[in-house]
């Protein structure tokens, strides 16, 4: 009888193990959808391919190659993604107001910021004014002279448009997020980009609620906002768990004349109950690994990923695995960014021969949330030859926030390249964009 019990025990245990092991969810990815689906419409050389606004500002981007799309290979994922995709409008592309060919040569340092703006609840204009020192005039034409270059990786930004497809309440339409509006009201991402003269790539992933009488329909998604021109634009459809998530990718001119890739990503906070159990709670890990696979299929560049990873703890599987693929990431400072949770992070991966350094000690959380339910994070990238101008270590222990002085100051052809300045002589404001007002802990 004992033998019988043993056989039963072994048999059923083996069966359970087999059953569970058969439920592995793939994060395999493919590139360039061309199946005529909703996704493919962005690639087709038709008017639908054109950006909604700011077309005149587009940098040499021809129809048909504005965006490279990547996405999961599993049929279930593709079906869900397509259904969600049909509820939104095409992405928005916009070039910065002052695009100068020589800009790429002038960059010694670059601020990289990530922030979830809670669908307009976060006051992006005030954030840019306070933290990035960019005054965005709501009435006058933009004449942007930022005190330094930056790229802001945004999550949960939105667009309001009467042209959005009809959307009735259903499983493909998430519940509308209606945050308390900041002073001056909620602002669409394109509005912010235009007021501030910044480059923009916005890729919507979902509707912000179904159609409601008296409300302008909205879609929401991730975006990249930068003082620098964006190129090599890409969108990565993450493996579908509970909702469609699209990572937004671009390259920008970085320090030391190198191009760097920047990625804005937003992972699911939770999957459905059945998928959570089937995957062993690997919801975010699957999406993170899908992102990694898609990024690794692109050409090798130093890469910064910033986003709302929706992690419940800083030692989650998703972050641990991402750390393996982004080994040069700054260590987490132990400070949460949404209530007691630490969902927002910036990751970094350099490449062989790169002359860009990530300044670890500059990685920090913004103390103000500016009306969002998340605090943002910032880190500085610095060219290895930037220190000779008295940058990071000499200037308040932070990298070159004094990059874009008045052009007259900058046109010195690096006469001071070999001179060490112990003080901050070079960082006195030449205009009234007082860079020394930047608050560092």
């Amino acid at each position: 009888m004992r033998t019988t019990r043993l056989i039963w025990a072994v048999g059923v245990a083996t069966g359970i193990a087999t059953l569970v092991s058969g439920c592995t969810l793939s994060h395999a990815m493919q590139q360039d959808f061309d199946d005529g689906s909703c996704l493919a419409r962005y690639l087709a050389p038709t008017s639908a391919n054109q950006p909604e606004a700011g077309a005149a500002n587009l940098p040499e981007a021809g129809a048909g190659n504005l965006l490279t799309w990547s996405g999961p290979t599993e049929t279930r994922d593709i079906d869900k993604i397509e259904a969600w995709c049909r509820t939104v409008e095409p992405p928005i592309l916009r070039a910065p107001a002052r695009l100068r060919p020589e800009d790429g040569d002038r960059i010694d340092s670059l601020a990289v910021v990530t922030w979830n703006t809670n669908v307009g609840g976060g006051d992006l204009l005030t954030f840019l004014a306070e933290e990035m020192k960019v005054t965005c005039d709501p009435t006058e034409p933009v004449n942007l002279t930022p005190p330094f270059h930056f790229v802001v990786l945004l999550q949960e930004v939105y667009r309001a448009s009467a042209r959005l497809p009809e959307a009735v309440s259903g499983p493909n339409i998430p519940v509308r997020i209606e945050p308390d509006p900041p002073p001056g009201g909620r602002r669409e991402i394109l509005d912010v980009a235009e007021r501030c003269g910044l480059a923009l790539l916005y890729v919507p992933s979902a509707r912000n609620g179904p159609d409601e009488p008296g409300q302008v329909p909205e879609d929401k998604g991730n975006a990249i906002l930068s003082t620098l021109p964006l190129a090599d634009l890409a969108a990565i459809e993450l493996p579908f768990e509970a909702g469609r998530k699209v990572a937004v990718v671009a390259t920008i001119p970085g320090p030391s004349g190198e191009r760097i890739r920047v990625v804005s990503v937003h992972l699911d906070v939770a999957s459905t109950l059945s998928r959570t159990l089937i995957s062993g709670n690997a919801t975010r890990l699957r999406q993170a690994m899908g992102l990694v696979v898609a990024l690794e299929s692109m050409n090798s560049l130093a890469t910064v990923v910033g986003g709302d990873f929706n992690t419940w703890s800083a030692n989650e599987s998703a972050l641990k695995n991402l750390a393996v693929h982004f080994p040069d990431s700054p260590p987490w400072d132990g400070r949460p960014t949404r209530g007691p949770f630490p969902p927002d992070h910036i990751l970094y991966r350099t490449v062989q021969g790169s002359r860009i350094d990530l300044v670890e000690e500059s990685y920090r959380r913004f103390e103000e949330t500016y009306g969002s339910d998340h605090a943002g994070r910032i880190v500085w990238l610095r060219g290895q030859d930037a220190g000779s101008l008295g940058h990071a270590d000499e200037v308040r222990q932070r990298p070159g926030v004094h990059l874009l002085h008045d052009p007259a100051t900058m046109d010195l052809d690096r006469l001071f390249a070999d001179v060490e300045f112990p003080g901050d002589h070079l960082v006195q404001p030449t205009r009234d964009h007082a860079r020394h007002d930047l608050v560092f802990p």
Partner: protein, 216 residues
């Protein structure tokens, strides 16, 4: 197949309690356990099936938080599920074989399934992305907990309190860690309920704490 050190350690870690429990249930000589052999083969099979289901689901649930802090959460969950299933299967078979309260556990599983389905249905109404498969999953979870109600409830209470305390003492544990402790408590309590039920053998004396009847 290459087995990395972390996985190997996990296997060893989970194999030890499995070996102990299995040994207690099957190979303990004489009447170290309070068995009465009043059940039947059918009862043993039924108990094994219920125990395996409950144990595997409880272990899967309990391992979600902990496994989600490993490099391979899916593989980790497979291991915990298999271990929990084996423990539940063995304990359930013994309980069924001895007719020591299997009926009560079946009733508990039934009630748990109905309650779980109700909760799942409510979630489906509230969360648009939920499908009927999620209602079914909630029902299975309910049945797993219901089949070991006392132990699961006790484990949840202890796990929640521990998690909350750790969170307060060490903020880095965070609310996610507290939830993980609560889920782990449900699993440990529930599996403990099965093991205790099997060890006691007599339905009249089933329940916490363990009471062994050892023959001299």
């Amino acid at each position: 197949m290459k087995l990395d050190p972390v996985e190997a350690l996990s296997v060893v870690r989970f194999s030890i309690p499995l070996a102990i429990v299995t040994g207690l249930m099957i190979w303990t000589p004489g009447r170290a356990l309070a068995q009465n052999d009043e059940g039947s083969t059918g009862g043993a099979i039924g108990g094994a099936a219920l125990g395996a289901t409950s144990g595997s689901v409880l272990a899967l649930l309990g391992g979600l938080g902990g496994c989600n802090r490993t490099l391979r959460p899916t593989r980790c969950s497979r291991i915990t599920t298999a271990v929990g299933g084996a423990i539940g299967l063995t304990a359930g078979a013994v309980i069924g074989w001895n007719d020591s309260g299997l009926d009560d556990r079946l009733k508990g599983a039934g009630v748990g399934a109905v309650v779980g389905a109700g909760v799942g249905w409510g979630l489906k109404k509230f969360i648009r992305q939920y499908e009927w498969s999620d209602v079914a999953t909630a029902s299975v979870l309910g049945s797993a907990v219901g089949a070991s109600a006392k132990g699961s409830a006790l484990g949840f209470a202890v796990g929640s309190a521990t998690g909350f305390l750790l969170w307060q003492l060490h903020p880095t544990v965070g609310p996610g860690g507290a939830v993980a402790w609560a889920l782990a408590g449900v699993a440990v309590g529930g599996l403990g309920d099965w093991v205790v039920g099997a060890a006691q053998g007599d339905p009249e004396t089933s329940g916490m704490p363990v009471s062994f009847s050892v023959r001299w």
